[in-house]
Amino acid sequence: MNEPLLRVEGLYKAFGKVVTANGLSFQLNAGEFTAIIGPNGAGKSTLINVLSGSLAADSGRIFFEGQDITGLPIHKRVQRGLCRSFQVVNVFPHLTVFENVEIPTLAVARRAHHFFRPVGRESQVADLVRAALERVGLGARAQTPASALSHGDQRLLEVGIALAARPKLLFLDEPTAGMNPVERVSILENIRRLAVKGETSFVIVEHDMDVVFSLADRVMVLHRGDLICDGHPDHVKGDAQVRECYLGEEVL
């Protein structure tokens, strides 16, 4: 694998005087499980927003599988294989769980534009959706409206929708936020299993250090828009600068 999955060069983004990305440059390779950590306001969410296409960077370039995607709109990035999930549950509330996952599945299968054929007849897609639901453990809830799910199940659905787009690179923005410990373990198990399968490379933004250090092959530490440390979890744990910026925030 010569070409990195994602290459970022000189990414700069500021909101007025607040610099959330200060000339960031890094690479992500396929097969890596990366975690991005950093205290509040470090710029983690902004980075994901810029990389996924919700926000435009002020300057810098983004390359995905060697192609420049800096100016591409969101849906084009997703079509190429770069996707994300949201910190705040962002589903289709009145549609069923099945339909929630069906939409990205239809898009990936290039069947979304079919305007005459009953969607129930798209049997290939239906199989893919059922499989996707099984993968995140929501198979039994297929016909429930998304808004009727428990919070933990909604978070699973959140990840499920993102995965249904079969991304090569998936950014998970604090997937365990607001979950109780039982739910947390469950979703992390799911993510671990999916990471092992190998289709998707994960980048997880997290506050919870246990999660980070148990799952990640590589940890990137952001602080006020700068990448202050980047490497194997053990290396990051021992880094003085990282300890300093986390003083009072988390116990490493």
């Binding site: 849906h75 084009k76 996707c83 962002n90 589903v91 549609l95 339909e99 969607v119 993102a162």
Partner: protein, 319 residues
């Protein structure tokens, strides 16, 4: 409600309409045709409003585009009704494409205002290009040549063409709603950001929904022109764009049959009220007020809720 039951109901409805054509008097026929035309307009319109979540104040202009498209074709090229309808629908679709292209760049209230602006521009063009469109007099003298050899000059004959177009429209809209495209539209209404992140070019789908709804508006306008033998410019005014919104709301935005029920209610109510008073707009306003304050889901929406409570936790979501 099981699928068979639904098909049976629609089948019976079609038969009833057919029977009406054979035995009803002139006035009832005329009224039924007006209901069907309004229903065609509202069905298409609700694809945009109820399904995709976009409120348009420009559909009066698209209806008028169909009306004038057919009218001008009829007067200057050929009075063949099928070709005329095609001309009307194509013209309306073209105008929808042009207007929609600009309007889908914005959402919510800005979209609504943009459609109002473009609709009024179209109205002003119709109003001012007197030599072509007849200005405030409109187009007159549109005739109904035989359709594939069958005469449709009399209203009771024309009724069957309207019925056929109506049934076709109902079927097509039903298919669209139940298709993958229809599901994506629902997704766009629910959460357009997430739909983008599902890999869907949201703007293009909105435009497609706009053009489809415009085509149906054009069909309704074309048929109306054939029915009345004239086309009038006021149909393009933004205040007439409120009609399909009213009808959809009354019947129920989220249901398929809502626009159908709404059309019947609207026309019937208008007839009844006009019997008693000149000021039917006043009563209409009051009824609309009552519906908005009381019955948010419209008639069908309220019924749906009752039925849903009776159903087991089965099919949910968009219908």
């Amino acid at each position: 409600m099981s699928r068979t039951a639904v098909y049976v109901i629609y089948g019976l409805l079609a038969l009833a309409l057919l029977a009406l054509g054979l035995w009803a008097g002139r006035f009832v026929l005329y009224l039924t045709m007006r209901v069907m035309l309004l229903a065609i307009l509202a069905l298409g319109y609700n694809l945009l409003l109820g399904r995709t979540g976009l409120l348009s104040f420009g559909h009066g202009a698209l209806y008028a585009a169909g009306a004038y498209g057919l009218g001008l074709f009829n007067l200057h090229v050929s009075s063949d009704p099928l070709l005329g309808l095609l001309a009307g629908v194509l013209f309306a679709s073209l105008i929808s494409l042009i207007i929609g292209f600009f309007c889908v760049r914005q959402t919510e209230i800005y979209f609504a205002m943009l459609t109002l602006a473009f609709g009024m521009m179209f109205f002003s063009l119709i109003w001012n290009l007197r030599e072509i469109t007849g200005g405030d007099d409109g187009l007159i003298g549109i005739s109904r040549a035989p359709l594939l050899g069958l005469p449709i000059g009399r209203d009771y004959q024309f009724y069957y063409l309207v019925l056929a177009c109506f049934c076709l429209s109902v079927w097509v809209i039903h298919r669209i709603r139940g298709s993958a495209f229809g599901l994506v539209l629902a997704g766009i209404r629910e959460n357009h950001q997430r739909t983008s992140f599902a890999g869907i070019p949201v703007k293009n789908y909105r435009l497609a929904a706009f053009v489809i709804s415009g085509a149906f508006a054009g069909l309704a306008g074309s048929l109306a022109t054939l029915l009345e033998s004239n086309a009038n410019p006021f149909a393009a005014h933004w205040s007439h764009s409120a009609e399909p919104v009213l009808v959809s709301l009354m019947g129920g935005l989220q249901t398929f049959s809502g626009p159908l029920v709404g059309s019947v209610i609207f026309i019937v109510l208008r007839e009844i009220i006009q019997r008693f008073t000149e000021n039917w707009m006043l009563w209409f306003g009051l009824i609309l007020l009552a519906i908005i304050m009381g019955l948010r889901g419209g008639v069908m929406g309220g019924l749906e809720k009752r039925l849903a409570r009776g159903r087991a936790a089965g099919q949910g979501g968009a219908s």
